[in-house]
Amino acid sequence: MSDIYTEKVKDHFMNPRNVGEIKDADGVGTVGNPTCGDVMTIYLKIKDEKIIDIKFKTFGCAAAIASTSIATEMVKGKTLDEAYRLTREDVAQELGGLPAIKMHCSNLAADALKKAIDDYRKK
């Protein structure tokens, strides 16, 4: 596999965690644009202001898939306030870094998560 990605990216790309949908989700956030080649949706199940379950679906490159996968792991069990503070940089750092070119286009998991939390809070 390409050396542009770290072992951790490869692991999360080949074996993504928390793939799927939550049918009765409390919050859903989709970001990206098929034109750019990356779209991701995050589904949240929330209880007492905590994320008790999280699932995702991603269309995109290895960086896009790996970053969503690891982001779901990073916030599962966290309070909404904690999760809301997750940044793109946190995700990239947890993956051991991402190629510069992928930082802005594919590393959208934190944005999707914020959108899902906003969606819950609006309800």
Partner: protein, 389 residues
């Protein structure tokens, strides 16, 4: 783990016979081919033999072959070299070049450069298969047109252009015709006289020769301006010390290609058709390029709902080396200009896969690939928000 090479369109393994022929020019007859001593004369003779071998594959004369560093340089030399012979003023023959929107970047970027220099460039559109419209070509010709540059076969989707018809139109209008034949050489029998081709680009490493060497066929009556000044090699058209081992390798690769073309093409076509058939069984999979007018070794698909880089990396994990037209794998982050010219949407272009096979591809490799691809497509679709069938 299995290792399967399905990227012959990018580059190929150098044939053992080619390597054998090249070796003496590294460590025995290593003299400068321009030198008068015996070392130099031996190198010179080897180069002239290679010139014949290259000329033979397109039915040209040896003195119509100029050696270059590869396909890109050949394209640059042909287009800039001809353009510089002409004025680029409006209402003069020298103002306009006609090319297509699906050319290799070596042609496209050269044309864009000339556009900045004041030339008028007409980029012909293509149909959904990637074929130019001959009527549009004829209508685009004016008294200002001095060069048509249309590729023989497309490097991404394998579509073969109506070269014979283009050649006729060019000749009828007294316009020079250049074709980038990098992908076609060794896969399609080419006769430059029958096809009215005036300039033709060749690359060595696509036909089991070494990298870093190529050739440009220049019809004898055609004069062009050099783009690399120096010691006056190649009759002043392309100065640079002769890359003797590379040139010898290209010559041998052409000889082998020509000798085995019919047999190789027959075998490769069968394998290609087999692979296409198998991949067409995948739900919402689409063959890009023309179903018949396509290179014998090109299989190019797009799959709804998935992205090409992911697909390629997962294939690589299974030992299969392939290519994609996805933006994510390109440096510019833009989907392939070829796929966009076909009228595909960006998200369709992102989900594309190019498999290019060759003379060493086996039936077993096709079977393995046909088994692995549907599994990966399915795995990626399960996690895709754009797929909810």
């Amino acid at each position: 783990m299995k290792k399967i090479y399905m990227d012959y369109g990018s580059s190929t393994v150098v044939d053992a016979e080619v390597i054998q022929d090249m070796i003496p020019y590294f460590n025995e007859d290593y003299g400068n081919a321009s030198s008068i001593h015996s070392y130099g004369r031996k190198a010179f003779d080897a180069i002239e033999k290679a010139r014949e071998q290259v000329a033979n594959i397109i039915n040209a004369e040896p003195d119509e072959i100029v050696f270059t560093s590869g396909g890109t340089e050949s394209d640059n030399l042909a287009i800039k070299g001809i353009a510089e012979k002409y004025d680029h003023e409006k209402n003069t023959k020298g103002y306009q070049i006609i090319t297509s929107s699906v050319e290799h970047p070596a042609v496209l970027e050269t044309c864009k450069y000339l556009e900045e220099k004041g030339f008028n460039i007409k980029y012909l559109s293509v149909d959904k298969y990637g074929i130019i419209d001959l009527d549009e070509l004829e209508k685009s010709i004016s008294k200002d047109t001095f060069l048509i540059s249309i590729m023989y076969a497309n490097n991404e989707i394998g579509t073969i252009q109506p070269i014979k018809e283009i050649g006729k139109i060019a000749r009828k209008n007294n316009i020079l015709f250049h074709t980038d034949a990098v992908q076609a050489i060794g896969k399609i029998p080419i006769d430059i006289n029958e096809l009215n081709i005036d300039l033709l680009s060749i690359s060595s490493h696509k036909i089991h020769g070494p990298k870093g060497v190529g050739a440009l066929y220049i019809r004898r009556a055609v004069k062009l301006q050099t783009i690399s000044h120096g010691g006056g090699h190649e009759k002043g058209i392309r100065s640079s010390t002769y890359n003797t081992p590379g040139i010898v390798g290209l010559g041998k690769a052409c000889e082998i290609s020509k000798k085995n073309m019919q047999k190789d093409v027959e075998k490769i076509t069968k394998l290609r058709d087999n692979l296409i058939q198998n991949l067409q069984d995948i739900q919402e999979s689409y063959l890009n390029g023309h179903p018949e007018k396509r290179l014998c070794n090109n299989v190019h698909f797009r799959f709804t709902g998935i992205e090409g880089e992911s697909l390629n990396l997962m294939l690589d994990d299974k030992g299969i080396a392939a290519a994609t037209g996805s933006a994510c794998s390109s440096k510019k982050l833009k989907p392939s200009h070829v796929l966009m010219a076909l009228g595909l949407k960006p998200e369709e272009a992102h989900g594309s896969l190019r498999l290019t096979i060759g003379k060493y591809t086996t039936k077993e490799e096709i079977e393995y690939t046909s088994k692995v691809i549907p599994e990966i497509v399915n795995k990626l679709r399960v996690m895709s928000p754009l797929w909810n069938r």
